[in-house]
């Protein structure tokens, strides 16, 4: 599904990612763990098309060159990024935003757009699953939401948009243990043979609830070790400093 070959990314001639390689097959869950500044967020930004990086190498998503696609086209093709810091958008009603987003994606895929009633039915169901306070959906997008609510809102969007590849950028940070379980349940309910996940995190904690197929250790812009779920535990015990 996703193939990253020799990815190199600089920002203002500072090297962030270098000789980065990764392949994710349909249905797989990959976790990338790494210390601050190792390039984790840069990777998720590049995958979703954020501008401002000097990039070389290749990224194929379902055999299509990702660099030829704009941010919104990547979303249409099924790439979703759950932001580390979801933005507050004043004046934009959350429900309206969700509906606009879903219908933009459905339209691009040639599917029928949902009307208000169909949409509300869907959003109600998903909000209930995630124990997301429905009343908040009538508020301005993320404005006045707590850190945990913002993160849950990302997962709600993910579950409504039903992407093929979901990238979770430190979704666990700032979540209490109950919220963490809800978020993990949300992710697990979306795990299907065609849906893949890339989970970016500092801590092993989230991986107790979402069992990854592969764990990669990212240091200084490069994957230095890959393994199974047990690698996360090893990392947790040793710390990044003593790893290598």
């Amino acid at each position: 599904m996703l193939k990253i070959k020799n990815l190199k990314a600089d920002i203002e001639s500072k090297s962030i990612l270098n000789n980065f390689n990764l392949e994710i097959k349909p249905g797989e869950v990959h976790a990338i763990m790494g210390p601050n500044g190792s390039g984790k967020s840069t990777l998720s930004n590049i995958l979703s098309g954020k501008k401002g990086y000097d990039i070389s190498g290749e990224i194929l998503f379902e055999n299509k060159n990702l660099f030829e696609l704009e941010t919104e086209e990547r979303a249409h093709k099924g790439i979703f990024l759950a932001f580390q810091y979801p933005l507050e958008i004043p004046g934009v009603n959350t429900n309206i935003f969700l509906k606009t987003s879903l219908n933009a994606i459905r339209k691009a895929r040639g599917e029928k757009e949902l009307d208000a009633i169909e949409f509300l039915k869907l959003v109600k169901l998903k909000a209930k699953e995630l124990k997301f306070d429905e009343e908040k959906l009538n508020r301005q997008l993320n404005v006045g939401f707590s850190g945990g609510e913002k993160k849950k809102n990302e997962i709600l969007q993910m579950s409504i948009l039903n992407p093929k590849l979901s990238i979770l950028d430190e979704t666990d940070s700032g979540l209490d243990i109950d919220a963490l379980k809800i978020v993990a349940d949300g992710v697990n309910s979306l795990r299907k043979k065609d849906n893949s996940f890339l989970i970016i995190t500092h801590y092993q904690r989230l991986l107790d609830y979402i069992k990854p197929d592969y764990v990669h250790v990212l240091m200084k812009g490069k994957i230095i070790k890959s393994g199974g779920a047990e690698l996360a535990l090893e990392l947790e015990n040793k710390g990044y400093e003593n790893f290598n």
């Binding site: 501008k51 919104e72 990547r74 979303a75 979703f80 932001f83 979801p86 004046g91 606009t100 301005q140």
Partner: protein, 415 residues
Amino acid sequence: MIEQLKIDFEKLIKNSNFSKKNVEIKRKSFHNFIEKGFPNRREENWKFSDLNQIISKNIKNLSFYNDLSKPNKIDQSIFIDGLEHNKLVFVNGRIEKIEFDYEEKNKIEILDDLVLEKSNDDNNSLLSLNNAFVSKYFKLIVKKNYSLQKPLVIYNITNKDLVSKSINLKVDIFLEENSSLKLVDFSDDKSNTNFINVNYSFDLQKYSILKNYKIDNNSNNNIKYYFNYISQEINSVSEIFLLSSGSEFIKNEINCNLRGKYSSAFVNGIFILNKKKHHEIKTNINHLVENTKSYQLIKGVLEDTSKAVYQGKIFVDSKAQRTNGYQLSKAILLNDNTEFNAKPELEIYADDVKCSHGSASGSLNEDSIFYLMSRGLNYNEAKKLLINGFLLDVVEKITDSEIKNLIKNIMSLKQ
């Protein structure tokens, strides 16, 4: 220009039946205008909008006499759809329709044969120009305890025959005790390069309510000045909303005097400008007695080489204890060649006062755009959503839900 002015003025006097008293006042105002001319940037009030320059740049051979002897056709298609309303229709400066179909006839009164008052126009040459050249001067009186059933829309229409003219309108609105009026100003211009000068005076007796929504949305290259004088007695409320968008140049000046205790004034405005449009909102809110309140919120979205100016003044008299005054202005500049000038002014002589002001401008937040695009919206959709979100809270301040919806429709803000 002075020669033209003199010829046109004499022509007006000759061809109209003004009373002797009116002619006398008109002459005085005329001389005042001749002496002062159009305001320029040396005047503090006009420092960001040099009207003299704007007029000479945009209007060739401005003339001041307007033949009002023949009626003009009204293009009915421009009437606001889906809103039952009373109408006052001006076409090319001539009154063509007065229609109050929804109201009790003895509860409103319209006077049109008025003697000009010796208004204090000495310092405002545009009011002198208006006094000198206005042909009919209207006054609407809403009687005690009466609330108009439907809004009144004053249409100010100019059609394509009108070129390089100075058009002057003068309307007084008098709200008797405990009466109320919703007034919409709606302009439609198919004309080119005219100077349109409107002089409003609102007199709000105690417990009366004025809601005035000024919609300048249709693109045109006329130059406009709207002067709004508001006087408020005990417990009266004025609410002004401005959508300032369509004209090449428009300055809305609001001069509000809170003379009665517990009176309050709200001024909310939106600039949506592109090309080289230049708009200004200038307010003077005078808190003259205790326990009065004013609130001003102005937002702008500027594109291309457009320019917006907001000069907001709050004056608090030494008698005006427990005044509450607030003003905030914000602008989004969509490119580097736009300009937003905000000049907040607070002049406070009382000590028990709550007043605040603020202003901010900046570009669209690219991170927010990226966030929305990552959810499948293209750049323009994301931009539009952010801009609408930015402007929405000003529109939400409109207290009349029917007109709020109308304005949302006009701005395509409907979500």
